[in-house]
C-alpha cells in the first residue's frame, strides 16, 4: 500500500508496542506472575498515545493534501490504527480476566492456546512487510491466520464446554472461556488488518461519498435522510466491492423499505441494465429499481427489498423440507425462464477459456496449485495448463443447445426464496446474458460446495442439493435433446471449483475444491471418443 511516512511512523511504533504487550501477555500465561501482567497493562498508555498521534497526523495530512486519492490512503491508515488498538484492548481484557480468577491460567496452559498466541505474534510481525509490499499475498496470509486461531480456540472452547457440563469449577471454566473468546476476537482484528491492507491496495476502501449518494437516491422514495424518519442498516459488502445497506422507516417497526447499493459506477450501471433487461425478458423475477444516481466514478442504486431467505440460509438452517420445496420452485422457475427466453442461436460458454483467464488470480492466492507435470513409473499427471488446453479442444467439439437468458453470477446467495408466496427472485444481476444454461447450474452447484460450514448434516445437505441441481439439469437436457450436458457440466464445475478457490482461505477446503476440479479434467482427457458420449459425473465428488 501507499507509504505515507508521517503516518507510517506512529503506526510502526504502535505495532512495536503492541508486540511488547502481546509478548508480556504470553509470558504471563506461562508464568502467572502478577508483575508481568502489570507490565503488559502498562503498554496500553503508550499504544493510546501512538493511536492518537496517528489520528492527529492524519487530520493534518488531509488538510495539506485534500485530493480524493490521499483521502483513501489516509483512511486505510486509520483503519489499521483502529484495528491495532482493538487488538491491544483485547490483550488488556484477557489479562483482566485472568487476574480476576487465578486458576484460569492453569486451565489455559494448553499447546493450542499458546499456538494461537504464537499465530497472533506472527501476524503482528507480518504487518510491516505486508504494508510495505506492493502485492497482497502477505496481507492474505495475515487474514488466513484468523482461520487457524479460530480453529484452536474453538477446539479449546469445546473442551471447556464439556467440562462445564459436569458442573464443577464453573467460575474458572467460564472465565477461561471468556479469555478464549477474546483471543478469537483478536484473530478477527487481525483479519480486519489484512483486509484493510488488501482494500488499500485495491483502492476500494470505505466509500466516503456514500452518504451523499444515499441522500440523492432517497428523494425517489420521497424520504429525507436528514429528518429522523428512517434509519440505515449495513447489510454487508459484495465481492465486487459494493456496499449494501437496508433502508428502514422509523415508523414501520424496522420493516425494510428498500436496499441501497453503492459502489463503482460501471458495475452499478451493469447491474441496473441487468435488472431492466430481466424486467423485459421475464418480468417479476428481478427487484424493482426505485432510483439511480451517478456521482463521478461512483454510483448508487436504490431498489426493492425482497422478502425471503437466500438459498444459503436455507441450507445452513438444515430445514430439509423447506429446502426441498424451495429448490423445486427454483427448478420450475428456471425451466419456465429457459423455455420462454430461448434464443435462435447457441452461445458456447467456453469454460476452459474462462478458467485459463482466472489462473493467475487463483495462483496468487494458492501458489501451491501451480504444480508441474509428474510421472511415476509411466503414470502421468499433467500440469493444469496442459489439462485445460486438452479439455478446451474437447469443449470446442461439443454441440451446445440454443442460448437462454441466464443470471450470470448464479450463487446461492443471489437467489431469494419467499416461502410464504412460494416464489423465487434473483438479485445481483450485473452479468446476465444469453448463454448456455449449464453455466448457471454449475456455478450454483459449486456455490453450495464452497460454503465454509463443516457440520456433517450441512455437508450432507450440500451434497444432496448439488445432486438435485445436477439431476434437474440432466432431466431438462433430456427433454431438449442436449447430448453434451454431462460433459459441459463437468467442464463448468471444474471451472467454478477452481476459480472459486480465490475466495476460500481455508487451506483444506480450497484443496478439496482444487482436487475436484483437477479430477474432472483428468477424467475427461482420458476418455475415448466413444466414452465421451456416455460420460457420467461420479456423484461422490459432491460429498466431502
Amino acid at each position: 500500500m501507499q507509504l505515507i511516512p508521517p503516518l507510517y511512523d506512529p503506526l510502526r511504533f504502535l505495532i512495536i508496542e503492541l508486540q511488547k504487550q502481546l509478548e508480556l501477555v504470553t509470558l504471563f500465561f506461562e508464568t502467572g506472575e502478577a508483575d508481568v501482567a502489570e507490565r503488559s497493562l502498562a503498554r496500553v498508555d503508550y499504544i493510546d498515545n501512538y493511536h492518537l498521534n496517528l489520528l492527529n497526523r492524519a487530520a493534518a495530512f488531509l488538510t495539506e493534501h485534500p485530493e480524493p486519492e490521499s483521502r483513501v490512503a489516509v483512511q486505510s491508515y486509520e483503519h489499521l490504527n483502529q484495528s491495532l488498538k482493538t487488538l491491544s484492548r483485547q490483550c488488556q481484557a484477557i489479562v483482566f480476566q485472568a487476574q480476576a480468577c487465578r486458576s484460569t491460567l492453569k486451565i489455559l496452559r494448553r499447546k493450542a492456546v499458546f499456538k494461537a498466541l504464537q499465530d497472533l505474534t506472527a501476524g503482528l510481525e507480518m504487518i510491516e512487510p505486508a504494508v510495505e509490499s506492493e502485492g497482497s499475498s502477505l496481507a492474505i496470509d495475515i487474514c488466513r491466520l484468523k482461520v487457524h486461531i479460530d480453529k484452536r480456540c474453538d477446539q479449546q472452547l469445546d473442551r471447556l464446554k464439556k467440562r462445564l457440563k459436569k458442573g464443577q469449577q464453573t467460575d474458572v471454566l467460564l472465565n477461561a472461556s471468556f479469555v478464549l473468546r477474546d483471543i478469537s476476537a483478536m484473530g478477527e482484528a487481525l483479519l480486519r488488518i489484512g483486509e484493510g491492507i488488501i482494500s488499500a491496495n485495491l483502492g476500494q476502501m470505505i466509500q466516503i461519498e456514500r452518504y451523499h449518494s444515499l441522500e440523492a437516491t432517497l428523494t425517489a422514495l420521497e424520504l429525507n435522510p436528514q429528518q429522523n424518519e428512517l434509519s440505515i442498516r449495513a447489510l454487508g459488502e459484495t465481492k465486487s466491492g459494493c456496499s449494501l445497506s437496508g433502508v428502514m422507516g422509523a415508523d414501520s417497526e424496522g420493516e425494510m423499505l428498500a436496499v441501497f447499493k453503492e459502489g463503482d459506477q460501471a458495475k452499478l450501471q451493469e447491474e441496473k441494465t441487468g435488472i431492466e433487461s430481466w424486467h423485459q425478458v421475464y418480468p417479476g423475477i428481478a427487484p424493482k429499481v426505485y432510483s439511480y444516481h451517478k456521482n463521478g466514478s461512483k454510483a448508487a442504486l436504490l431498489f426493492e427489498y425482497l422478502t425471503g431467505d437466500t438459498f444459503e440460509r436455507l441450507l445452513l438452517d438444515k430445514d430439509r423440507k423447506l429446502l426441498k420445496r424451495g429448490l423445486n420452485t427454483l427448478f420450475g422457475t428456471l425451466k419456465n425462464i429457459w423455455q420462454e427466453t430461448q434464443a435462435e442461436e447457441a452461445q458456447a460458454a467456453h469454460y476452459m477459456q474462462q478458467l485459463k483467464k482466472r489462473l493467475p488470480a487463483i495462483f496468487a492466492v494458492h501458489p501451491e496449485f501451480e504444480h508441474k507435470m509428474i510421472n511415476i513409473n509411466g503414470v502421468k499427471s499433467h500440469s493444469i495448463d496442459n489439462l485445460i488446453e486438452a479439455c478446451a479442444t474437447i469443449e470446442d467439439g461439443l454441440t451446445v443447445p440454443n442460448a437462454v437468458y441466464i443470471h450470470g453470477d448464479f450463487n446461492l446467495d443471489n437467489i431469494i426464496y419467499d416461502s410464504v408466496e412460494d416464489e423465487v427472485n434473483f438479485i445481483d444481476l450485473h452479468r446476465s446474458d444469453y448463454q448456455d444454461y449449464v453455466q448457471d447450474l454449475s456455478v450454483l452447484m459449486v456455490s453450495c460446495y464452497r460454503i465454509a460450514n463443516f457440520d456433517p448434516k450441512v455437508r450432507k445437505l450440500i451434497a444432496q442439493t448439488m445432486q438435485a441441481i445436477y439431476d434437474f439439469g440432466a432431466d431438462y437436457a433430456n427433454q431438449i435433446n442436449d447430448h453434451s450436458y454431462t460433459l459441459r457440466m463437468a467442464l463448468g464445475l471444474s471451472r467454478s471449483f477452481l476459480t472459486s478457490t480465490r475466495f476460500v482461505l481455508d487451506k483444506q477446503h480450497a484443496k478439496a475444491m482444487h482436487f475436484r476440479a483437477r479430477y474432472l479434467l483428468e477424467q475427461i482427457v482420458r476418455l475415448s471418443p466413444q466414452q465421451l458420449n456416455h460420460y457420467q459425473i461420479p456423484k461422490e465428488i459432491f460429498h466431502d
Binding site: 426441498k324 511415476i376 448434516k457 450432507k460 444432496q464 441441481i469 439431476d471 461422490e540
Partner: protein, 103 residues
C-alpha cells in the same frame, strides 16, 4: 467411557518380494473396499471409499531414499440423515408438445 480410537502401526525389515506382497495385499484391500488390520491389541477394518486423497512423497539423501504414500478418505458421518433425493424428475413431462412419438 470414552472409546479409544483404533490405531495400528507396523515397521519391519523386509526383502523386495515381501514388500511387493504387502503392497499387493493393500491393493487387493482397495479393490474389495476393506483392509483388515490386526495385532494383539487391536483388530479393525478400514473401508476405502470410491474416492480418496492420494499423496506420494519421495526424498533422497546421502543416507538413503524414502517413499511415503498417504491415502486418506472421509467416512459418512451422518448415517441417520434422510437419503431421499431433493429432486425427482417428473415421469411425464408436462409440456412435451414436440416430443410425442407417433407409434
Amino acid at each position: 467411557m470414552a472409546k479409544k480410537t483404533p490405531y495400528f502401526e507396523h515397521e519391519s525389515l523386509q526383502d523386495k518380494d515381501a514388500i511387493v506382497s504387502y503392497l499387493k495385499a493393500i491393493t487387493q484391500g482397495f479393490k474389495k473396499g476393506a483392509i483388515k488390520l490386526s495385532d494383539e491389541d487391536e483388530d479393525f477394518v478400514l473401508t476405502p471409499q470410491a474416492f480418496a486423497n492420494l499423496k506420494i512423497k519421495a526424498t533422497q539423501s546421502k543416507k538413503g531414499q524414502t517413499l511415503n504414500i498417504k491415502i486418506n478418505w472421509s467416512s459418512d458421518q451422518d448415517e441417520d440423515a434422510d437419503d431421499a433425493p431433493l429432486f425427482i424428475a417428473p415421469k411425464t413431462p408436462k409440456k412435451s408438445k414436440n416430443n410425442k412419438k407417433s407409434s
